[in-house]
Symmetry: C2
Subunit: 148 residues, 2 copies
DNA sequence: CGAATGTCTATAGAAATAGTAGAGTTACAC
DNA sequence: GTGTAACTCTACTATTTCTATAGACATTCG
């Protein structure tokens, strides 16, 4: 299971992706629109900012905006920032590798081989799907309606 | 990440799969062989027993054995017992479905579609791999050595 | 200036994780 | 039929993670 926090982060990003690229969106607006506790969302957006995903403007007329195009922000990237490693085992993590001290020899680890496949399959989906993809169905549905 | 407990469970099952089908293996032996805290392993095996995966014999000469062939015990099945739902979102779980109260309409949920793909990919691997598969490489390596 | 907005750090309650403890039950060996 | 070696069951605990909440601070616009 991914955390609630990660779900909030992804939802928040879809809001930013939906907004005009140069118009900052206020935390309160995002929170209201996606039913996210405001103070919690503050932390999440700050975290995303520190990781170079979003930018912010302070003061009146302030808010958040995407720092790069929605097509370049993958689900995997966000999950790593918020939830940590994608891999199901520490010894399979790319960003936070840690040897399993209870198995001798990764080549022989029977469990590892199976979860390596899981990790591969998961990464394939998470890093090939972007925030832009997430909001696309909505747009195409809109287009469909307009063309009807 | 899967829990340590699940890793222990899978390791313990490979030990049982490696043993003679009618010779019970003692908890202490499994614990020693796989470096699992004994008292913790007790709980795990008991849990697996209650879910019909393994059987036990009490008293002297007692121990645990598989209740069904290793080829029929999938990783997915064990993970569900020990760690709970495989799905990354409650609203995608087969065994523990729960509606997300913060998204209106699952058809529209942008996040859900992506994680549905993740869940599918994960399940495909986890339910097509069995304990027998996990110990297979070891056996074939053994065979290779014997034939050399 | 002052109000609106993001920034940062601390705190806290609840749940999950990873064990540990110990009393109880069963079954084999003798 | 007793002793002991094994599994059984329940409860407890320490640590960490999750999900927030609180409040003082900093910045910007009008």
């Amino acid at each position: 299971m991914i955390t609630q926090k990660a779900k909030y982060a992804l939802r928040a990003l879809t809001v930013l992706a939906d907004a005009d690229a140069d118009e900052p969106v206020m935390i309160s607006d995002i929170a209201a629109q996606q039913k996210i506790p405001k103070k919690f969302l503050e932390q999440i957006l700050l975290d995303l900012k520190h990781h170079g995903v979003v930018a912010s403007r302070r003061g009146k007329q302030g808010g958040y905006l995407l720092l790069k195009p929605a097509q370049t922000i993958t689900f995997g990237e966000i999950l790593r920032i918020i939830d940590g490693p994608i891999a199901p085992l520490p010894c399979l993590s790319i960003t936070a590798y840690r040897r399993c001290d209870d198995c001798d020899g990764e080549q022989n680890c029977q469990i590892r081989h199976v979860f390596a496949k899981v990790a591969d399959a998961t990464r394939k989906v998470l890093f090939s799907t972007t925030i832009a993809d997430a909001i696309a169905p909505k747009h195409s549905a809109e287009v469909t309606r307009l063309l009807a």
